[in-house]
Amino acid sequence: MTEGLKILLPGVHTTVQDFGRFGYQGLGVPVSGALDTESLRLANGLVGNPPDMAGLEILHHGPELEVLADSVRVAVGGFGASLNVLGDDAATIPAWQSTKLRKGQTFRITVAGTVLCCYLAVESGFDLEPCLGSLSTYTRAGFGGYRGRILRAGDNIPIKVTDVEDRDDLYLSSAPQYSPQAPIRVTWGLQQDYFTDASLKRFVSEPFTIHADADRMGFRIFGPSLEHQNDYDIVSDGIATGAIQVPGNGHPIVLLSDHQTTGGYPKIATVISADLPALGRRKPGNEIRFAVIEVEQAEDIRRDREASLQNIEKRMEPVPNSPQIDLQQLYKANLISGVVKDEVD
């Protein structure tokens, strides 16, 4: 096995994820994949990887790692996240910037306190065997990623290219924006007719809070209780990522990457695909509001979102000569102005 990155401290929930496992939902296999595909995609771009290459998904609290390969180029994608080089060469590399690390260096990934996830992309990707066409980890069934599980101290995640070339490191000169308070947009369905009119109104007018009982399968959200006007058991049908199902207790569950492929609770609405990455950044305790739009609007928003991501990707620029100081300043300035606007870079 090739040398790669050794996990010194695993963090809370660190897994290998790409954009997901497609083609097996008809056999009951969830898609899995990154909760925030945009952040993974941008991090991949900075190290020259295809957008959907597998990286580490880091939830809540970051791991500490040691470089066992001769050298690696890495980038962190995530709002407010950073990479902290430890030891003698201590330095903070902000998110949205690549950096080259040498054998023996140790580093920590810091997740912003207000954001659930961030991603570590590694140039050339991990040297792991895909499972059913994907490197995404599906922990419930124990397959994909690294041994089908969350990472533990002592794991050595092999990397394909174990000595990277010298080249300019890159940063995103036009950093992506994230508004933690922005409503999550949904379309109605599949079974909105199972709910009372009053409940449908409350769903879009009142806030919900993400409950601590949240994982990669879904978020339970608490807010106004939603009443079914018919039965709350339906004959199972398909589930799209972002579907919001409401069991008999009236408290919705927003279904995320590891959701089951089929389910038997009425679904009141579905989060639009352009807002799934923002949904994946929310963490337990965060407030969440929903706004209902039409499918045609969702399609327009998704196309706009894709265009803006491509613009961001076009504006990858070499890190200026004294990167630590200049970029830190730039980053802090952005962060501060961002907070005023209720946004985090």
Binding site: L27, G189, S236
Partner: protein, 240 residues
């Protein structure tokens, strides 16, 4: 009930044929799945058949919901001419006490002997309606009326892999260890889901299954052969 086609967000369209568990409905769902997969429509990622509907997952950057619906509708309306290629599987199941924690209870509730439960459950050809809940977990029906009970009031935290279970009008096999609320009346040594295999799930929607009672020693022998890769499950092609 007429066909309803409607979106779930901007990444999936549901083609709904009805709202119940019904063989005729299931046949229409499975035929629609075949015709849509065969058509190779631009933007379609995959299809998920369920008891009563087909979910079509698609890429919204490639095709819009309205265009995709317009392309699918004529296919579905002529889809009933298509045959679904199914297989009839003979699945060995051990119903002995060690492997069937709820068998006594089911027999008591049904007012019959455990032997009669085993006979009724195994002397029957089941239709695989769909897979879901767990990778490869087959929802099969219909269970004889005498054996139809609601799910357990308190689900088990841990149901072992291979457990053969009944609830409502259905029977299933837990393909991996999982929480579960169905009544466990037997166990199969056959691995129905193997993520390292090119075809990871043995049973597919549209297949038929017959349970073959085996003894504990036969269970152990098959389990050993499964572990060494020397076991192949028997099937016959279904005449359509």
């Amino acid at each position: 009930m007429s066909i309803r086609i409607y979106p779930s967000g901007d990444t999936a369209i549901v083609i709904e044929f009805g709202n119940q568990i019904d063989r005729a409905l299931s046949d229409r769902v499975l035929k629609a799945a075949v015709v849509i997969q065969a058509a190779g429509l631009s933007g379609v990622i995959e299809t998920v058949p369920t008891f009563r509907s087909l979910m079509v997952h698609y890429d919204p950057l490639t095709v819009s919901a309205s265009d995709l619906e317009a392309r699918m509708r004529p296919l579905i309306e002529t889809g009933d001419d298509n045959a679904v290629d199914g297989r009839k599987w003979f699945l060995p199941v051990c119903y002995e006490a060690d492997k069937s924690p709820d068998l006594d209870d089911v027999a008591k509730r049904a007012g019959i002997t455990t032997e009669e439960v085993v006979h009724m459950h195994s002397d029957h050809t089941y239709h695989v309606y769909m897979t879901g809940f767990l990778p490869g977990y087959p929802y099969m029906g219909d269970v004889p009326d005498v054996l139809c009970f609601p799910r357990r009031e308190i689900p088990r935290v841990r149901v072992p892999k291979g457990a053969v279970a009944i609830a409502t009008t259905l029977t299933a096999v837990y393909t991996i260890e999982s929480p579960g609320g169905w009544h466990l009346i037997g166990s199969t040594p056959v691995q129905l889901f193997d993520y390292t295999a090119p075809q990871p799930a043995i049973l597919a929607a549209g297949d038929q299954v017959v349970f073959t009672p085996i003894s504990l020693s036969e269970f152990d022998a098959i389990e050993a052969n499964v572990a060494s890769g020397a076991y192949t499950l028997d099937y016959k092609a279904i005449e359509s």
